[in-house]
């Protein structure tokens, strides 16, 4: 993942996408890379793991070498209009931005192209060695990855269409972009992960995704069951472990992140996650 320019992190809701994004960003920063962590979805998911309060549209340096930002669509839109479409001074047209935002809510792919476009723009600008995008969940990720293609199908002419071409190339180039799908060794997440992998293979929008299965319990080799609570722990552990194995077997090639015991805060989660990712690297 570290020799790419962009890692897009997705997965079913509740699997730990933001924790993995934060851990990955911290690990890359520890390696001395210039890193940008981007919160694409609802505010607070990623920032909680950095314990830095809400993120804004302007990247802020939260550790030496690590910047973080939240994509605010209206601001991304104004920047898109002025930088990419070369319509200077659009910032003065507040009503226009609102109108466009409304349009983006109803029109397919426009909203997604503005968001993913901002991420790809940061990659293109060369300010960062690695951009880590804490992306929307798997249920929506397809419409983001497909946005550049959708736009060229939907909009026969216009400057937005022209912009969508380089975005398609950047997303589908395996040297540039890596999609990481965070998974859990449980029924619903694993099913959704497999469906997403299948969908992505059939569309060829990005290179094959990397599956990271989170909260994997270690195997207990000791087969004894001591008296009292410790025996109860051993029994619960074995039973959860064997259920997890059933789901782990369904993913061909995956990386496993161990269950974190006794971790309280999102900040601790991110620090642990960064160590665990370092260990499996």
């Amino acid at each position: 993942m570290f020799d790419k320019r962009l890692v897009i992190v997705s997965g079913k809701g509740g699997v730990g996408k933001s924790a993995v994004s934060a851990g990955l960003s911290l690990l890359a920063q520890r390696q001395g890379m210039r890193v940008l962590a981007v919160e694409m979805g609802s505010p607070g998911g990623l920032s909680a793991h950095f314990s830095t309060g809400p993120l804004s549209f302007n990247p802020r340096e939260i550790r030496p070498g690590l910047h973080a930002m939240h994509i605010v669509r209206s601001e991304a839109l104004l920047e898109y209009l002025s930088l990419q479409l070369r319509l200077p001074g659009m910032g003065r047209f507040g009503p226009f931005a609102r109108a466009f935002d409304a349009l983006a809510t109803a029109a397919p792919a426009v909203r997604e192209i503005i968001t993913i476009g901002k991420v790809l723009w940061e990659v293109k600008e060369d300010r960062w060695d690695l951009v880590v995008a804490d992306a929307p969940p798997t249920g929506q990720i397809g419409s983001y990855l497909r946005a550049p293609l959708s736009i060229s199908e939907l909009v026969p002419t216009g400057r937005i269409r022209a912009q969508s071409e380089w975005m398609r190339e950047a997303l589908s180039d395996p040297a540039t972009t890596q999609l990481a799908l965070v998974n859990l060794p449980e029924e619903l997440p694993t099913t959704e992960t497999l469906e997403t992998v299948e969908w992505l293979r059939s569309r060829q929008l990005v290179a094959d995704p990397l599956v990271l299965t989170n909260r994997v319990l270690p195997e207990l080799e000791d087969a004894s069951t001591p008296r009292g609570p410790v025996g109860e722990m051993a029994m619960l552990h074995r039973s959860l472990w064997s259920e997890q194995q059933e789901w782990l077997e369904r993913i061909d090639e995956d990386l496993q992140i161990p269950y974190m015991f006794g971790v309280f805060t999102p900040g601790e989660v991110a620090a642990h996650m960064s160590d665990e990712l370092d260990a499996i690297r």
Partner: protein
């Protein structure tokens, strides 16, 4: 009188499992109970006897007091148009390419459709108790804000934004030469995209009266419902649970209980490790007692900070994906105010 329980919480915490198990408990106590769910895991759907169900409630084969229905949000959104628009407009809406896009892009529309459908079941008065497993979109809050957001959408908020003024007629969009904003939008997006979006929104607007009135009915049912928040003790879902306690009192009502799922037994906190156990086992004991302590502290803090009624459902060694497994799971729940929720005899 039909009692309603809305079960809410972040994705992946076992909300659907607990809603289903509560339904079994209620049905076994003699209440005619309907469990309304979205997208259950396959094994859970089998346990509820709803493998192949549409959104029509079906009775369980072994437990005749228990009914279940599975919501299909995309289909019900279509039903909203059919219910509130003229037949001609409804057909045009269904054929409009933005119709599907709007239901995907506007998560509230899926939550609205789910709420609309669930309220229809409550109003049918065919059950003593309706338990709704709410969709997790937008952290779950969407379900409760959907009626007002939907009324805003069809009421022309988007149109007013597009035009930057009062609601326009159809002609507005053909007169774009006079409006620089529309010209720019055209040059960016190509020829007629804006027009197509506008036509869609104008059609949608004809459903406003129906949607607004229905929204008030839905909100009424929500205010009369008991709310159950499900979470685990992990930081992310707890953060979502906090939002429910902050935001729901002003929208619907204060949650009756927060259920911490996958709770470990209190006796594990200071577990005595027998002297003759292996290093591996000692390490295991340490990990699980730390985890138990963390869960305990998280619940204590939540209860103190949000004046919440806290209950627990144990982390079961046996995955509760059978009817009996679900029944056992809910019987092992601790501190759930069943009578207050109307689950089981008062």
């Amino acid at each position: 009188m039909t009692a309603t329980v809305l079960v809410t919480g972040a994705g992946g915490v076992g909300k659907t499992t607990i809603a289903a198990a509560m339904g079994i408990k209620a049905a076994r106590s003699g209440l005619r109970t309907l469990v309304v769910t979205v997208d259950p895991a396959k094994r859970l759907a089998t346990a509820l006897g709803v493998d192949d169900l549409g959104d029509e409630p079906q009775p369980h084969r072994d437990e005749p007091s228990l009914w279940a229905a599975m919501l299909d949000a995309s289909a019900s959104w279509r039903a909203v148009a059919e219910r509130h628009a003229d037949p001609e407009v409804a057909t045009r809406l269904a054929e409009n390419e933005f119709f599907q896009a709007a239901s995907e892009h506007f998560p509230a529309s899926q939550s609205y459709a789910a709420a609309d459908q669930a309220v229809t079941f409550v109003q049918a008065r065919a059950w003593d108790l309706v338990i709704v497993d709410t969709p997790p979109s937008g952290g779950g809050i969407d379900f409760f804000t959907a009626p007002s957001q939907m009324a805003d959408l069809v009421g022309g908020r988007l149109l007013r934004w597009i035009t930057g003024g009062p609601l326009p007629g159809r002609r507005f969009f053909y007169d774009r030469a006079a409006r620089p904003m529309l010209r720019v939008a055209d040059s960016l997006l190509g020829s007629d995209l804006l027009e197509r979006v506008a036509e869609f929104l104008l059609d949608l607007r004809t459903t406003y009266d129906g949607v607004a009135q229905r929204g008030r009915e839905i909100e009424g049912v929500m205010k009369d419902s008991s709310i159950v928040v499900v979470t685990t003790a992990d930081p992310a879902p707890v953060r979502e649970a906090v939002r429910f306690y902050r935001e729901l009192p002003s929208i619907a009502s204060t949650p009756a209980v927060v259920i911490f799922n996958r709770a470990l037994p209190g006796s594990w906190m200071a577990a005595e490790v027998p002297a003759d156990t292996s290093m591996e086992m000692k390490h295991l004991a340490e990990m699980w007692s730390t985890e138990t302590q963390r869960q305990h502290d998280t619940r204590e803090e939540f209860s103190a900070r949000h004046a919440a009624h806290v209950a627990t459902v144990p982390w079961s060694a046996k995955s509760p994906n059978s009817f009996d497994g679900l029944a056992d799971l809910i019987e092992s729940a601790i501190d759930v105010p069943w009578a207050e929720l109307g689950v089981g005899p008062a």
